[in-house]
Every structure is written in C-alpha cells, then in structure tokens.
Symmetry: C2
Subunit: 357 residues, 2 copies
C-alpha cells in the first residue's frame, strides 16, 4: 500500500511534506523535549509558533493592519451561529445562497437575527449564480459562501454591497488565489480543506466590527474577547494550529497564493476541458461560477458509477464519490492536490470511458 | 536532546507509545492510503474508528446505557456557557466552587441562567473544601469541578444532591480512577489532560436530560442535535478523536481505570509524603481534598524558585512552574506520567534541598 491521490472534499489531502514533518516531530518538537501537543499554549515555545503563524498568514494573504486574525474551534458551522450573535444581534442580515452551505449558514443565523435572503439560486438547483442581488443597505452584513463544495459553485466576483460589510465563509477556497482582504468585514474558514486538519477555524475580522459584539454574551462566544486574548481565551487546538503553521510555510515555499492561484486555475481548466470535450462525462454548472476546488461530474450512464468508483479507488484515486445530495462523482482539488494527481485522474477517466466502448 | 518527564498541567504529557503510533501512521492510516486527518469523517473507515472509540470509552468507564457519549469541540470553557443554555435556560442552577475553574464555569453560565453558589471555599483561598453545601431542590442541576488544576483540589466525595442532576467538569481527572457514572447527569472533559490533545471535548450525558435542550437554540449549540447526529452534526476534530481512541486502547492495556486509580494514588502518595516530611517543601491544601493529579508545592524560600526551575528543566523535569495566580511549583501527574517520572522528581527535589544546605 502507498498513499493515493486523495480527492476527498474534506477533511482533505494535506501536503505530504507537511505530514512528513509532523511525523518527524511527533515525539520531540523543536527543543521542547515533548510533542507540540504536550506543551502549554501559554509557554514561550507555543506562543512563538502562534505569533509566527499569524505573521505568515498575514503575509500570504496580505491581511491589512485593519484586520485581526483568530484561530478558533467549532468548525465553520459553529460560526454560522456565532457570527450573527456577535455582529447582527437584533438586526437584519442579508444572506446570498448559492448552495447547501449558504443554506445552512442562513438557518443557523435565524435564532439570533432576522435573516433576509438577498439572492438565491435555489430555484435553479444551484447550477448557476443568482440572477441578481437585492441588498438591504441597513443590513448588519451580507453573508456569502465563496465556494460551495457540494454543488461545485464558486463566487468568482464579489458582489458590491456598498457600506455593508461582507462576511465570507471561505472554508473551501481560502488561500487558493489572491484576494483583496480589505473588501471583507469577516473571512472565516474551517481548516480541513486548504489550511490543515479539522477542529480549527481561522477568522479574519475587521477590527471596527468588534465593537458590535454584545457584552451580554458568554465570554467564550464573544469574538471581541477572543481578539483581546490573542485566541487564547481558552486552550486552543494546539496541534491543529501547529499543522496550519506548517501549511503556511509550505504555501510560501510554493510561491504563495499568486502561484497557487495559477496552479489551481490550470488544474481546474484541464479537468473541465477534458470533461466538456469527453462526450462521456459532464458537469452541469454554469461556466461563470464553476468551482476551481470541487469538480462534480457525471458519467454518461449512472449505472456505471459503482464500477467507476471501485476501479478508480483500486487505481489509487481516492474519494471520488459525489455528495449523496447530487450524486455522481466529485474531484476536490484543493491546494495540496498536485497537478500530477489531476493528470492521473484524467488519464484514468479517458481509459475508463474508452473501455465502456 | 530526548524526551523529558513532562509535568505540564495541560496540554499535558501523552503516553509515548500513543505518540509513536500516531507518528508511524501519520502518512498512511490503516488501509486508507492517507492520513487519518485526510479522510472523510462520514466514510466507513472513520465511522469505524468513532464507533470503536465510543465502545472503548463506554467499557473503560462502565458508562450505562442510560448515558450517551459525545465527542465535541470548544474546550471545557465553551461548555461552561453551552451547558446552561441547554439544561438550565430560564432556571436556577447551583454551582459548587472549589477553585478557578469552578469560578469560570459559574461566570460563563450567568448569561443563560440564574447562578446560585451552593458552596464555595473562596474565602478560605480554595485551600479546603466548602464547609457545607446548601442545595436548592428546584435547581436545574448542581455543577461541580471534580479537580481544580490550579489550586490542586480534588473532590474525592461527590455531594448528595437528591434528584437534582450533577453536572461535572471532569477535565483534569476523568479516567484517573473508577467512578459511578450513573450518579452523574453530565460529565464533560477537555481532552488535553487525561484523554489526548486539546481541541476535543468528551461529554457523557444522561439521555433523559436531552429533552431540556431548547429547540430555539442554533442547531450547532444544541446537544440533543449532536446526539442525534452521533457527534457528526458538523466535521468533528478527527485527529483529536483518533488520538483519544489510541489513549483509550492504551488505558485498557494498562489495566483500565481500576489499575490507573491504584497507580495514580501511589504516585500522589509518594510525592505528598515526601513534601510533607521534607522540611523544605510544602503543600498548603487540606489533606481531605488534595489532588492526585496536580500537586502544587512551595520551596522554603521563594527566592530559590528560579534556580529550582532552571535546574529541574536542565535535568529533564519539564514544566514545573506553578500557575501565576498561586506561585511556587506544580507537578501535574496525570495518567501518562509514569511512576518513574515521579520518582525522578522526588530524587531531584531531595538533591536540590540538600544542596541549599
């Protein structure tokens, strides 16, 4: 057995060199004479890691001084609920819904604010972007999901929301290309796709918005309190944070998000081009919003799905089964998926199609 | 450099064999051809791990069928806030406060319920247990902290609360000896002391209490929803869960919590006996509630603290500095600390005391 090309939608593939370093340091990290998991988050060694990782992420994403960075827990889903508690309590918030995650975010917000759907492509089966947006200029924020992993829909152009801050669930495409962070009020992302392992959430928040966090909240649910304590209001997920720090170094060594954007663009293009021209596979998403991260595709005959999955798995192409709600296949090709993995997938797809004659 | 004896209060030492297994499986876990961190939590491989770990924990602690087991995130601190939201909304809850963590639990509960202090040893500097308890028979629950890591106070005898369920923060002494789980409404514990790595919380909850969880809560903050989804309402901390599963196997191999209770009792006894008889070191806690997990001690002259710490660190006895709020030293001797580590500490303490002439 050896490692396969892993197309899992998340928890997803990590760079092999990152895993190898985590392996090599598992019993003794730096000079700690202990694992990074076994030391106090308040000791100088871990504080150094925390500060360095924040600097590295700030550099990678060109995060301006106006924005704070948090390393939290709970998965993006917890923050679906916690963001409206902090930033829209008693107010209206606009939600743009382009897939399942946007739907969930809106649902989890309902106990804490008035949720207004400012645009949705649900009626179109989430196969394209909403036809337009109707924003409320008095909304607390506009929530968007920049990439929908299940449908395979990416928001390539950020809507114009005037003075209303944009809150973006960027779980599945953060760090996949350059973005202008200053255009966002809040960016948040579960780590298990493009940052590291599950159990860690990275949040980038414009400092002036923290004045909204209600002091009546329990401290642990108050983002302002987390910022004040440098993400150490309580014990953070230290191993998750450590892994993220290794991924940030890896990204810098790859050439940063500019280079990742080029590679990700090329990986997606070659796969979509093959699918579109194959006459055997198909992708139903409007080209204007096809995801560079998650490429769902169907076979000409869905009776062949099981065979495709068994044979691809045997060929070392892992986790290609599509989400049960859309069926078919899905290739998730985040930062850690090398070009060679996409080429191997296409070679397999070609061969499989030919063999069905 | 090599691994030291690690007396960190948390994140704390893990069994070396567990770390070695995690190292060896880092790039390829079982037959997954990927790390355990890189696979879907909803796939059959991870589901098997999740089910096995629950069975193992249920066996180790003899958890009765009346109680459900959850693997969550957020640290115990998040659950300080979330437990009253779920189980005491609009009601009064009794809190027993025997140290800093009990104080924090009570503080985080205040936004969600009426907090009543049913017993506190704060006036006695948390050096002993409260003189008595005044429980409210109509309280939603009685919250206790079974071990206080900072003061070094352990609740060796559970108070009688009649029909009022006991909610226990067992973060620092779970799995350290046999307990009767049926006496508890809820047991919860951050994993980073006796279970595994930070970023994971284990909760054991009596099923009938779940009827209290308000349906108006966001789903992700509702324990009933987590039980319904088998701790997979969202992506769990999969690596943390995996590490916990390895620790459960290790504990079973050690002889289970009965044997750990004997070892932990012996480790604590030899250390307290030495301190009490040394004429140089002292522990201020009432013997009726001294912690078997965290042993704070002072030197005869606190001007020697820095020297003690530098020399102990150089001798491979790590992280002995006491919490800043109480000063002095603290030896945390959880399950993963072998008897040999405590002996090495005592040998060093003897030698150090002698050298101060």
């Amino acid at each position: 057995m050896s490692r396969g090309y892993n197309f899992s939608s998340g928890p997803a593939a990590l760079p092999e060199s990152v895993l190898a370093q985590a392996r090599d340091e598992m019993l003794e990290w730096r000079g700690a004479r202990a694992s990074v998991m076994e030391i106090s988050h308040r000791g100088k060694d871990f504080i150094a890691l925390a500060e360095e990782s924040e600097r590295d992420l700030r550099a990678l994403m060109s995060v301006p001084a106006s924005h704070k960075i948090l390393f939290l827990q709970g998965g993006a889903t917890q923050h679906f609920a916690q963001i409206p508690m902090n930033f829209a309590a008693g107010r209206t918030a606009d939600y743009v819904v382009t897939g399942s995650w946007g739907q969930k975010a809106a649902k989890e917000a309902k106990p804490s604010c008035t949720v207004r759907i400012a645009g949705s492509s649900e009626a179109a089966g989430f196969l394209k972007l909403p036809d337009g947006y109707a924003f409320d200029p008095s909304a607390a924020y506009v929530h968007v999901t920049t990439n929908e992993t299940i449908g395979g829909v990416e928001l390539h152009v950020l809507p114009s929301t005037g003075d209303v801050p944009i809150v973006a669930d960027m779980s599945s495409n953060i760090l996949s290309r350059p973005i202008d962070v200053s255009r966002y009020g809040i960016i948040y992302a579960g780590a298990q796709k493009n940052i590291g392992a599950s159990g860690l959430v990275v949040m980038i928040v414009r400092e002036d918005l923290l004045a909204r966090c209600p002091p009546t909240l329990p401290n642990i649910l108050n983002y302002s309190a987390h910022v004040k304590e440098g993400s150490m209001l309580n014990t953070p997920n230290t191993f998750g944070w450590y892994l993220a720090s290794l991924v940030f170094k890896w990204l810098a060594n790859q050439g940063g998000v500019e280079r990742m954007g080029e590679i990700n663009g090329a990986k997606a293009k070659v796969l979509y081009d093959y699918i579109d021209g194959s006459g055997f596979y198909s992708n139903p998403i409007d080209r204007a919003c096809r995801s560079r991260m998650n490429v769902p595709f169907r076979l000409a005959d869905e009776a062949l799905d099981g065979k495709f999955l068994a044979e691809s798995e045997a060929a070392g192409l892992l986790a290609l089964k599509g989400h049960r709600s859309v069926g078919g296949m899905r290739a998730s090709i985040y930062n850690a998926m090398p070009v060679e993995g996409v080429k191997a997938l296409i070679d397999f797809m070609k061969d499989f199609a030919k063999r069905q004659g």
